[in-house]
């Protein structure tokens, strides 16, 4: 019996394979995205494991001064070094001072990390004899390769305050000598004598420890150390290995791909439905011939499994290509994805067997569950019921739907009494229930309008995450109700018109309206993907605009910041010089007030600074009064009338003083890019505190490099704000564009669904097509009806997606603005239009080609058996 079942299943599969090839493309998407995402994780994990050996060597843990802050890195006490050396579980220790330097060789320049070390410490740490002579450096292999540097070459190193020529005495081949930073974020490291590295505040600013623990034990060990010794120790190997950021791209693929996977599963449902409908007669015949229902079920499962397996294998292969493609994109993208992540240029695609298996299984499980459920339902009844399977265009709501609807209404009303905060969700639930009881287009339109009015009119002043979710669901479902309800009047409108084109549209709309299930399935695929695609277009568009506005403002209207090297403060009280190329500047002196940064600003600042959140200019005068202060807040926080507290220097040296300030106003912290909690004028500055001088400046883009060099050569730390922000922005841009690519796979599923439905309709309705031609409809009109029908199905979804996302995107942006600062919402109409036009062109051309190329002779079509 099994052989017969297998033979029928296999022949069915081969005979109908061509017609479902298009489905295989759509159904392979879950496996493709899963294998793609997991392969990316494999790749990064494999690369990190390799990197731990090639770039870290014995460096397991780093130790820093816990009082470090964004302005200064402080030296560690010798006592801490001695205490750590005494520990038996610390096998080796390397004290270093670190600073960012710029290496120039052969006309090329790279910013990298420089480590000032003592040769004997380095030798002990890496376990081999190393001698760094005066004016000599060891350059890590990756950095040497990047600049094509060889041993004995002379390289120019521009440190903070000093530029000099150094001889490369050794290339650090692997292990710690090829270190690239805790997160592999640097192109490489230069090792030099500690006394020749300028720019660091004392020695050592950092310790690297090799410990007698496994990587899994490092985190616990570090926690104990931090508690015992009040240091800031980090388990660098364990952190890199376990950091979720390293899996970000893989998970991003799966997360964004999730919507596409969902769309693909909807396609699977469409396929399963059609598959079972088409086999009804055959299955009934087999049952009549004596096949048990279990045999028929086995036959269905065998054939269905064959389709899903082929889709899974196809998807897994495509998934590997997808991973390769995304990896290339990532590598082509600038060296840093986002702050603190990876240097990825040497990433090579790694795909594990388990990922392929997981991807195929993941892509198979849900389709098989759907398939099994439907197949069981079909075969469980008597044979004659199979023959009465619902024909196309005859789907209707069951009686039980009304009772379920009624129950839903009652449930919604009851829940409203207990959870009034979920009113939107419950109104939505009740509306769906009402529509289930009375599925009329008038009621649908009424309910949809009611929901829109309620949600738009009663908008809470501050949206919580729950509010946003509820409102999103409301916009989405109400759009569904509205557009599906509009079908009836639209169809009526065309039924009254008497041109040939309108007859086609009328027939097409009739099919859409009566084929509720298929119309809903196809529209759902498109609505989900279009909804997410548009949100994905809206958010970065507004964030980008917001950041660009921020860039114009910069830090209080300045685009350049120079932090004075705190070392200088010990020896000199001189202020930062003003470099040529600076258009306007202000001097700011930074310290801590109650552990938050406080900036004392000069008159230039009070005159020129831009503070968007304060409309009136009065503060510029009032802040000049001694003892006054402005407080930075996040949003609508209230501020006290006065602030009492202790002012301390940022880096611990120097005295402290208790002061009281009168609060004269507040500014929005989210709009100033640098976390300065308090701003006061220099007239309020206490005398005995060592402040870190900071210069805020406006520098023309053309002069940025010269001005940067000017301050680097003087030991100070120049920061070009635009450059830093652009780096972050390009990271966001990269993520969004990658996300969009993954969402387009969902559109592929949608398109696959439409194509499948078109092909199926053309074949199933051969006879009706012939009848339409017999009664006088031209080929063109009949074809047009098919095109209009399928485009309408997709368009319903697209309209729902667009309408809901347009309404919802403002909520999402408001939520984002509440985190990053107040901005103005704008809808990216041109981006969305371009996307829509592209989508429609592809869809229309595909459907039209399918319809008009599949011309059948009406006489032959009329002979087709029902």
């Amino acid at each position: 019996m099994f052989r017969t079942i297998a033979r029928i299943a296999f022949r069915n599969f081969l005979m109908r394979f061509k017609s479902t090839l298009v489905l295989i493309i759509g159904m392979s998407i879950p496996a493709m995205l899963l294998v793609g995402g997991l392969s990316l994780n494999d790749t990064v994990k494999n690369w990190i494991v390799k990197s731990l050996k090639n770039n870290f060597g014995p460096a397991d843990i780093s130790v820093e001064n816990p009082r470090n802050n964004i302005f200064v890195r402080l030296a560690l006490d010798q006592q801490i070094v001695d205490l750590l050396k005494e520990r038996k579980d610390v096998l080796a220790i390397l004290p270093v001072s670190e600073s960012l330097v710029r290496v120039k060789y052969n006309g090329r320049t790279i910013d990298c990390l420089a480590m000032g070390v003592r040769s004997e410490d380095l030798s002990n740490f890496v376990g081999k004899e190393i001698q760094i002579p005066s004016q000599g450096v060891i350059i890590s292999r990756d950095l040497a390769d990047a600049l094509n540097i060889k041993e004995n070459d002379l390289v120019s190193i521009n440190m903070t305050g000093q530029a000099g020529e150094f001889k490369v005495v050794q290339i650090g081949e692997e292990g710690f000598l090829n270190f690239k930073g805790d997160h592999l974020q640097f192109p490489g490291v230069i090792f030099m004598n500690a006394d020749e590295l300028t720019g660091a505040v004392g020695f050592p600013t950092r310790l690297y420890l090799h410990v007698d623990k496994t990587i899994e034990e490092h985190e616990d060990f570090v926690n104990d150390l931090n508690q015992e010794m009040r240091i800031s120790a980090v388990a660098i190997k364990a952190t890199l290995l376990n950091s979720p950021a390293n899996k970000a791209l893989g998970y991003l693929t799966i997360a964004f791909g999730g919507f596409s996977i969902l769309a693909s599963l909807i396609l699977v449902y469409l396929f399963v439905q059609s598959f079972l409908e088409e086999r009804n007669t055959m299955l009934a015949t087999l049952r009549i011939l004596g096949f048990k229902s279990s045999h028929v079920f086995a036959l269905l499962m065998l054939e269905g499994f064959a389709y899903f397996l082929v889709s899974g294998l196809f998807g897994a292969s495509a998934g590997m290509f997808l991973a390769g493609f995304l990896l290339e994109r990532l590598k082509n993208f600038s060296s840093v994805m986002m702050a603190g992540t990876l240097w990825l240029s040497k990433l090579e695609l790694q795909v594990s067997f388990s990922s392929i298996l997981a991807g195929i299984s993941g892509g198979l499980v849900l389709p098989l569950v759907i398939f099994t459920a439907k197949a069981r339902k079909i075969v469980s009844g008597p044979a004659v019921r199979m023959l009465r399977f619902e024909e196309e265009g005859q789907s209707s709501l069951r009686k039980s739907t009304g009772y379920v609807g009624l129950a839903v209404i009652v449930l919604a009303v009851l829940l409203t009494l207990f959870y009034p905060e979920f009113s939107v969700a419950l109104i939505l639930l009740a509306s769906v229930g009402a529509f289930m009881v009375f599925p009329s287009s008038y009621l649908g339109t009424f309910l949809a309008t009611g929901i829109f009015v309620y949600v738009l009119r009663f908008r809470p002043a501050e949206l919580t995450s729950w509010d946003v979710l509820q409102r999103g669901a409301a916009f989405f479902l109400a759009s569904w109700l509205l557009f599906f309800s509009l079908l009836t009047p639209l169809r009526k409108l065309f039924s009254r018109s008497a041109s040939e084109g309108s007859v086609s549209t009328f027939v097409a709309l009739s099919y859409v309206q009566r084929n509720k299930r298929n119309s809903f399935i196809i529209a759902l695929m498109f609505s989900l993907i279009v909804f997410v695609v548009i949100l994905t277009l809206v958010v970065p568009y507004n964030v980008e605009r917001f950041v660009n506005e921020q860039l114009e403002t910069g830090i209080f209207g300045y685009n350049f910041m120079v932090i004075q090297n705190p070392l200088k403060l010990i020896f000199t009280g001189a202020d930062l010089e003003i470099a040529e190329g600076i258009e306007k500047h202000a001097r700011v002196y930074v310290a801590q007030l109650n552990n938050d940064p406080v900036a004392f600003v000069d008159e230039n600042f009070l005159k020129d600074a831009m503070v968007k959140s304060i409309k009136s200019n009065e503060w510029r005068k009032i802040l000049l009064e001694p003892g006054t202060i402005a407080v930075g807040t996040l949003g609508d926080e209230s501020v006290p009338e006065q602030i009492n507290g202790r002012i301390r220097p940022l880096f611990g040296l120097g005295g402290s003083e208790n002061l009281t300030f009168r609060v004269i106003g507040k500014f929005d912290l989210r709009q100033i890019l640098v976390p300065v909690k308090y701003v006061a004028s220099i007239n309020s500055m206490p005398a005995n505190i060592r402040f870190v001088p900071v210069l805020l400046a406006r520098v023309d883009e053309n002069n940025v490099s010269t001005v940067k060099d000017f301050y680097s050569e003087r030991f100070d730390f120049p920061i070009h704000i635009v450059e830093e922000l652009n780096r972050v922005l390009s990271g966001v841009d990269f993520l969004v564009k990658t996300g969009l690519i993954l969402l387009y796979f969902g559109l592929l599923s949608g398109l696959s669904g439409v194509v499948f439905h078109t092909m199926r309709s053309v074949v199933l309705r051969r006879k009706l097509t012939a009848v339409l031609k017999a009664v006088g409809m031209t080929n063109k009109s009949v074809g047009l009806a098919f095109v209009v029908e399928n485009l309408t199905m997709a368009s319903l979804g697209i309209l729902v997606g667009v309408f809901a996302s347009v309404l919802f995107s403002k909520d999402v942006m408001d939520q984002i603005f509440s985190m990053i600062g107040s901005g103005r919402f704008l809808f990216p109409i041109w981006n969305v239009l371009t996307f829509m036009v592209g989508l429609y062109v592809i869809m229309t051309v595909t459907i039209a080609l399918l319809v008009f190329l599949s011309k059948a002779n009406p006489a032959e079509s009329l002979r087709v058996q029902d």
Binding site: E391, E392, G393, Q394, S495, R496, S497, A498, S499, E500, S502, V503, F506, V507, S510, Y511, Q513, R514, N515, K767, L768, A770, V771, L772, K773, A774, V775, G776, M777, T778, N779, N857, P858, A859, L862, R863, D866
Partner: protein, 231 residues
């Protein structure tokens, strides 16, 4: 009047060549009820399809009141059909997503008749076939006989000169089948339409003015139906 001269229909090529119609010549007068009678595979439906223009003959001539129908393009044939012909099929072939009324309205819409007039005519036609109270029902909500009556209404609503009916009772029980034929006959009489019915049911053929007996693609005999006893 429909004049057919030397009509040939050949399917396939070479060894697979099948001669479905072999030089058929016949004349059908206006208002006549003609039955095409014969066993399965004799070429009845092929002849009807060629005459109505939904299939093209391999050779031969067809004239509708001196109009050389065989020389018209597909587009012109379609337009001619829309104005002058009505069809009734064995499996009713109603559009399942349209109501009975909408199915009957369809030929009028194709002809561009305005909605008000079209609706009036369609309702009147449905009333004539006894379905006034079921005009808003979908085909799946009607019995087989009712569906065929809708199909007849659709075939006649635009006052065609000729109605082609291919086994119109083939999918109905005998009593309903006779009812349908009686309806077709009475409508033909009332509207003066030419009626050409393909059938292998003797009782139906006997009601025709003339019976064309077909075998192997040829008309082997022509008899007057109403004067016939047993075929």
């Amino acid at each position: 009047m429909i004049v057919v001269k030397e009509l040939w229909k050949i399917y396939g090529k070479g060894e697979r060549k099948v001669q479905a119609l072999k030089g058929i010549s016949v004349t059908i007068k206006d208002g006549e009820f003609v039955a095409i009678f014969g066993p399965s595979g004799s070429g009845k439906t092929t002849l009807l399809n060629c005459l109505s223009g939904i299939d093209s003959p391999t050779s031969g001539e067809i004239y509708f009141d001196d109009l050389p129908f065989h020389t018209l393009s597909e587009e012109q044939k379609t337009q001619f059909r829309a104005r002058n012909m009505g069809f009734v099929f064995q499996f009713f072939n109603l559009i399942p997503v349209l109501t009975a009324l909408e199915n009957v309205l369809l030929p009028l819409k194709i002809l561009g008749i305005n909605h008000g007039e079209a609706k009036q005519r369609a309702v009147a036609m449905l009333e004539k076939v006894g379905l006034r109270d079921k005009i808003e029902r979908f085909p799946s909500q009607l019995s087989g006989g009712e569906q065929q009556r809708v199909a007849i209404a659709r075939a006649l609503v635009h006052n065609p000169k000729v109605v082609w009916a291919d086994e119109p009772t083939g999918n109905l029980d005998s009593e309903t089948g006779m009812n349908v034929i009686e309806l077709l006959e009475s409508m033909k009489k009332e509207l003066g339409t030419t009626l050409v019915v393909v059938t292998h049911d003797e009782r139906i053929a006997q009601r025709a003015n003339r019976i064309l007996f077909m075998r192997d693609g040829q008309i082997v005999d022509v008899r007057e139906g109403q004067k016939l006893g047993s075929i």
